[in-house]
Symmetry: C2
Subunit: 285 residues, 2 copies
Amino acid sequence: MANLETTLARGLGELERDAPPRLAAALRHAVFPGGARIRPRLCQAVAAAAENDDPALVDATACALEFLHCASLVHDDLPCFDDAPTRRGRPSVHHVFGAPLAVLVGDALIVGAFESVARACVSSPARLPQLILLLTRAAGAPAGLVAGQAWESEPKVPLERYHRAKTSSMFVASAMAGAAAAGRDPEPWRAMGELLGEAYQVADDLLDAHAIDDVAGKPTRQDRRLDRPSAVAEYGTQGAVAKLRALVARAAAAVPPCAGAEMLRGLVVEMAERLVPAALRRTAA
Amino acid sequence: MANLETTLARGLGELERDAPPRLAAALRHAVFPGGARIRPRLCQAVAAAAENDDPALVDATACALEFLHCASLVHDDLPCFDDAPTRRGRPSVHHVFGAPLAVLVGDALIVGAFESVARACVSSPARLPQLILLLTRAAGAPAGLVAGQAWESEPKVPLERYHRAKTSSMFVASAMAGAAAAGRDPEPWRAMGELLGEAYQVADDLLDAHAIDDVAGKPTRQDRRLDRPSAVAEYGTQGAVAKLRALVARAAAAVPPCAGAEMLRGLVVEMAERLVPAALRRTAA
């Protein structure tokens, strides 16, 4: 597999070429430099563990997942939502380019995600329908990223469905689409994706509650300010860290039998340690 | 082919089911009741003329085109763009449901467009890559709807590229995707789509300049107010009507040889007469 940043730069190049110049600059700002790239890395790791036979399609799928993730960050940061001045430690897209271009950047990245996989399925076109559906379910209205954000506009938020839509959906898609792009049955990978998604949500709540701005790279203490549900509010800090570790252990155990299962289990545990905020590692060890 | 409104209702049902209730209501408001549905009708008409052998896929493609169109209307109406209080003669989505849900409705419709075709390609999966690419080019960053809207954020607007991106791209996609979904080579349909798109842009400029609010169903006199390029400003009213009629005649002549060519030429001319605002028909006859 090619270097992930190179893959993303190539995918972005297709969207920027001949595009209106300010839109092209805003697109680049939204995708580079990136965060942990945890979703595309998970996709690539699953594909590698499952004996990837179409690296180009796997890379394009990883790129699509990161585009969808970046789109949701840019739209969530808009003045009409969180009005976040920073993201990944830099000014947010709308802060630099204005709200109109931020709306359009999100739209372009969503469209670009589907373009990425459609363009790369030359060797394995039969895999495309399933890949598109895995991505649309993770991103869309009934139970994906859009639904997750939309629950915040409801008078009553069902906590589990909210987290599943806003966070787990993309981890499930990352794991399952990684397998599907590599020509494997994606279904056995669902459980691992769900557990990692839940773990990530708890980690995000911890970063927010403890105002670990330099790690989060975005405004913290937002959950309380916006009265959003949070694992820290529900279980306390110690309880949340314990829950995170338990979820990661279960995720590692949920890796289905495959050639690279051991490698992947190790990677999941490594990811786990990076998910626990450093400042909390000792207190909760 | 099933009734278009039924097809759209079924497609929307997939997005609404189990979605957050206010998001579901906002999605319905964005799609029903519709406007002229000119893009999906063009798609279906081309498919019928080209001896459609997969009606389910053609209907899903028509649905995808209308979803992408509705998404662009909802986002273009946002306070940060045109801040339009009305659309299709009713309050705009953000006016009823607020800007956050309007952003999410657009996102959900974009995602839903790709879901629609991926779900329906069961009988003809080999057609999916080309269909997805036709839709992404029409909707996306370099030269589709997103680019069209983004040109309005540039200090200098190249008029032809602006209109191609904002209007023609979707007419081209409607014609070409109709052929592709029906199992035909889409390339011969490009010219007709381009000419119809140009004609439609001129018609839209006429409606705006002459403040024909009841036909437009949205605020008019916006081109001058927002200093946007317009065919009326460039050619005058008489010149613009003449240009519209010439473009439609050329579009009819550009219908490629196919079983239903005569039927389609008749339909194009009929569409043309509906495109010329009634109040201007006599003056420019």
